[in-house]
Symmetry: C2
Subunit: 334 residues, 2 copies
């Protein structure tokens, strides 16, 4: 029998905590017997939510933590001072090996800092990238880095490419994933100092399937499976994707309400449209892992509902069973 | 009577040259009596196209240029060597004052280089930004810089903000335009070394209405009227906007064709949807001016059709009548 996958879940993180977090945790436990969840946070509040559900109590424990790190708090200070917070306690459960993974919808800064300071980096990993899965017209791509540490070096971009390739192949099942360097033109000499330095490193690296520079315009059309960039650019890519989708859908909805004829048409197209657009929503793909740590740390959107928490917990199974960290360790030591 | 606005148009630039360029030029001349167009390029080809139209020949001249600069050519070399190309000839017509403006759908690199090398910068302008108008859910914003020169300095970003404010107020008619610094968080200390250095410069500048950092997610929702960033980031913003819109519209069209019910609905919503989405298309707003030159240089999309050429020519009228260059000169000298 396969080993149990132990996941610490920050029950107090995000806009919908603890209600949606607890619900998502219960759903994950009920869906897959390989998962055991530790809900970390204020026990009375968590217990109150748990009353509504039926679940295997052997695979869902509550770990009390009195403090909560708020989104606005300076992360380094918060991680240092709030030892009894849900994030810090959950981080230590990953560090000491009692948990394989941590899922949090809380403060991005605190998760990134805690992951590096408490859980710690795999030896040789210079900077652990935050790597969300983003939708494209034909499927999904992995975008890294979207973290808080901007101004990466070219050698770090190459690490992102290698780590991202492992993840994309092992977890998403894309064999020999195409790696693209996000740039402002396709030619080798295009871009800024960073991309011009990174290009030959990518081209000459035998461990990745480099397909060249990818312009932002091609990202939503699936220009590459692994999209590599420094975090400032990655953040813009991710947030433009969210923003433009959101604005366009709002525009379309308004257009459909314009007159009687369009309203009638809207009723008819709605089910098909909903199915189509679902595949293009960034919310469908669970959380973004912070890759290259001694354990798995998954950051989900602050507005996460139960479905995203559930998906984020379940993705930890593949992460453990595929030995992602072992693979990263081997690659990076090379 | 107002002075005539003389516009040199690169008849050989872009994917649809000379056919759509000539058509757009004729449309502009027929629409507004204040405009005189000089179509620069291979005279026989231009004359052939012109045969199809009726227009006031007093306000549409052909200027022969034998050479064409291709999109793939290294721009600096092309501008230097191809003295008899449509772009270079048109640039010299702006430089010597016989034309007020130049419109080209040709090589972006050649237009940017030619603008700086031949037309020349206004004294004090360190780096002329390429400034497209982009749609948002409520109207439009000016995005600068989207040019080819990446890695700008903070003081240059501040110039972009001041120049962009003048343009937005005088040409688009937004009084006291809100200036936003494109960043990965709203707090002052967020971002990379460049944005952190630029923030206090923006905050302390009395000539602009600075509203703080703007995250990419808020750009499509009209987070600011003037969006300032360095060109690598600007290029990603612009191309993600184009790419996500394109991919999403393709997805929606596919969804509408899914079954009989959705097809029927699509027929009904189509007219309303078309109207709505038109306002969100980057193609509706003519070309992007390269601001801060001794004359106006407008770059339109390589795939421009007649409508974009026409709009780009017509926007030169406001540019001249509002004395934009005089205003930039006064501001920058301060």
């Amino acid at each position: 029998m396969a080993e149990m996958v132990n996941v610490a879940v920050d029950a107090m993180g995000g806009d919908n905590a603890p209600k949606e977090i607890v619900k998502g945790a219960v759903e994950a436990v009920n869906e897959d017997k390989r998962v055991k969840v530790f809900l970390v946070g204020r026990e009375p509040e968590i217990r109150e939510e748990l009353k509504s559900y039926t679940y295997d109590a052997q695979r869902l424990e509550v770990v009390h933590a009195q403090e909560v790190i708020e989104t606005g708090e300076p992360p380094v200070m918060a991680i240092r001072k709030k030892k009894d917070s849900s994030i810090v306690k959950a981080m230590y459960m990953v560090k000491d090996g009692s948990c394989d993974a941590l899922v949090s919808a809380g403060s991005t800064g605190a998760v990134l800092v805690g992951g590096q300071v408490i859980v710690g980096r795999i030896k040789g990993v210079e900077r652990p990238p935050l790597a969300p899965i983003i939708p494209n017209i034909n499927g999904v791509s992995l975008l890294l880095d979207c973290g808080a540490n901007v101004d990466a070096k070219a050698s770090q971009l190459l690490q992102f490419a290698r780590i991202g390739s492992i993840y994309m192949e092992s977890i998403i099942g894309v064999s020999n994933p195409r790696v693209g360097l996000v740039n402002i033109g396709v030619e080798e000499e295009k871009g800024n100092a960073l991309t011009r330095e990174a290009y030959p490193l990518f081209r000459d690296c035998p461990d990745i399937n480099f397909v060249g520079n990818v312009e932002a315009r091609d990202i939503p059309f699936g220009g590459a499976d692994v999209l590599v960039c420094e975090a400032f650019a990655g953040n813009i890519v991710l947030k433009m994707l969210e923003g433009v989708s959101g604005a366009l859908v709002a525009k379309i909805k308004a257009g459909m309400m314009e007159n009687l004829r369009s309203k009638l048409g809207a009723l008819l197209v709605k089910p098909a449209l909903k199915r189509t657009l679902k595949g293009f929503s960034t919310e469908e793909y669970g959380g973004a892992p912070l890759l290259g740590l001694n354990g798995l740390v998954v950051k989900t959107h602050g507005s996460s509902k139960a479905v995203e928490i559930r998906n984020s917990i379940l993705q930890c199974i593949a992460f453990k069973e595929q030995n992602i960290n072992e693979k990263i360790r081997e690659q990076i030591v090379l």
